[in-house]
Symmetry: C2
Subunit: 203 residues, 2 copies
DNA sequence: TAGTCACATGAAGCTGAATTCACATTCATG
DNA sequence: CATGAATGTGAATTCAGCTTCATGTGACTA
């Protein structure tokens, strides 16, 4: 976590530093991202950086936390208005579309997040292990519930299906990122996609 | 590419070095993998390493090349006996199952490969750019052909679907890798999966 | 005015990992 | 054996990037 001094900075300066950090980590994986890069982009002195953070790892952890929080908040506000009354597939649709929209609005955050999830770097594995509920486990729970509720047929493998849904979700964000933005047909693609899945696994 | 000296080595020694390298790069991403690790595992002197290879990057490129070659050869031999007469979905089934089997038989190679594909490291991007036909493009061509042949309906997005199929493919290998081996039901899962996809996009 | 506090600075130091290099050893050949 | 070309070796060097530290600045207080 950042030090007190960081929080005491003016919002403008905090923002400047954060923006530089996001830029650096969005363009590079953990190892390739340099503290020097953040320092140069934000125009602070290298010494100052260590007044604000315990070091590179500290900054990275902080970023990952922010990204997670923002995404959850976003999904919560934008799409998860009424998770209880939705059936599994509509919920999935909401989640995917929300995820896409988030990726569209925050491409750099998503770049960092996707990299974080896939990375084999010790630092990333370390952080991931401390974060109890992964996207994977979240989906798995959702699927098990859906089976109980009768939305989804019994004979699918929840673990694999969760993995499948998660990876398709990442593929979607990647797609948006690579294509540099939403196209008119993106949401149609998602609807098609969910229909495919729905046909395959609904009861 | 390795230097002449490497090729002159006895097969046993070449194998020992290659094995050490595969181990090192399977357990770590490009940046985290150390030449020192390869040196220690293979029991050669650090100086010798530079007699055989131009450096870390050179070794890595060589490994990636080997992995690609082995996988292609494997798919070619094991599953692609008659690509012409298969319809798109049977071909897909073959490819997936072949991929899974390859992952089962060569978990370390697949670990390196998957990491290579996802990595943002300059070295990886560099190598990827020089390799013309990606798995993605291969699928895209397959899909376009399938649309022409009438196996797949016209109104899907080939680019996205290729991305989708590729990412599901990776998810599958990852799954095998994480679960540490094939289960009795793995092939059933794949069949189900293809059925789902087939229902969704066939004409 | 002096003292203290909070933040700012960048040169200097540290570290770990890649790479080099000067010397040692092996081995095929005459 | 003798020779030297090929190969082996690991201590020393280089280097990039993270981090520390000694010192500076300005604002607020007594």
């Amino acid at each position: 976590m950042p030090k007190e001094t960081f929080y005491n900075l003016s919002d403008v300066k905090k923002e400047r530093i954060l923006d530089a950090a996001i830029d650096e980590f969005a363009k590079n994986d953990y190892h390739q991202a340099n503290v020097t890069g953040v320092i140069e982009k934000s125009g602070i002195a290298s010494g100052s950086f260590y007044q604000y953070f315990d070091g590179k790892k500290d900054l990275y952890k902080y970023l990952i936390g922010i990204i997670l929080k923002r995404k959850l908040k976003y999904l919560d506000k934008e799409v998860m208005n009424s998770p209880e009354q939705l059936n599994f597939f509509d919920l999935l649709r909401q989640l995917y579309k929300g995820g896409i929209q988030f990726a569209e609005e925050n491409p750099r955050l998503v770049a960092i997040g996707n990299n974080f999830i896939n990375s084999k770097s010790k630092v990333c594995i370390d952080i991931r292990e401390k974060q109890k509920p992964t996207s994977n486990q979240y989906f798995e729970k959702l699927i098990k519930d859906a089976i109980k509720k009768g939305d989804v047929k019994k004979d699918i493998d929840p673990t694999f299906t969760a993995k499948f849904l998660t990876s398709v979700n990442y593929a979607l964000s990647d797609f948006i990122y690579a294509e540099k933005g939403l196209k008119e047909n993106t949401m149609v693609i998602i609807d098609d996609l969910i229909n495919v899945i729905e046909n395959g696994i609904k009861k």
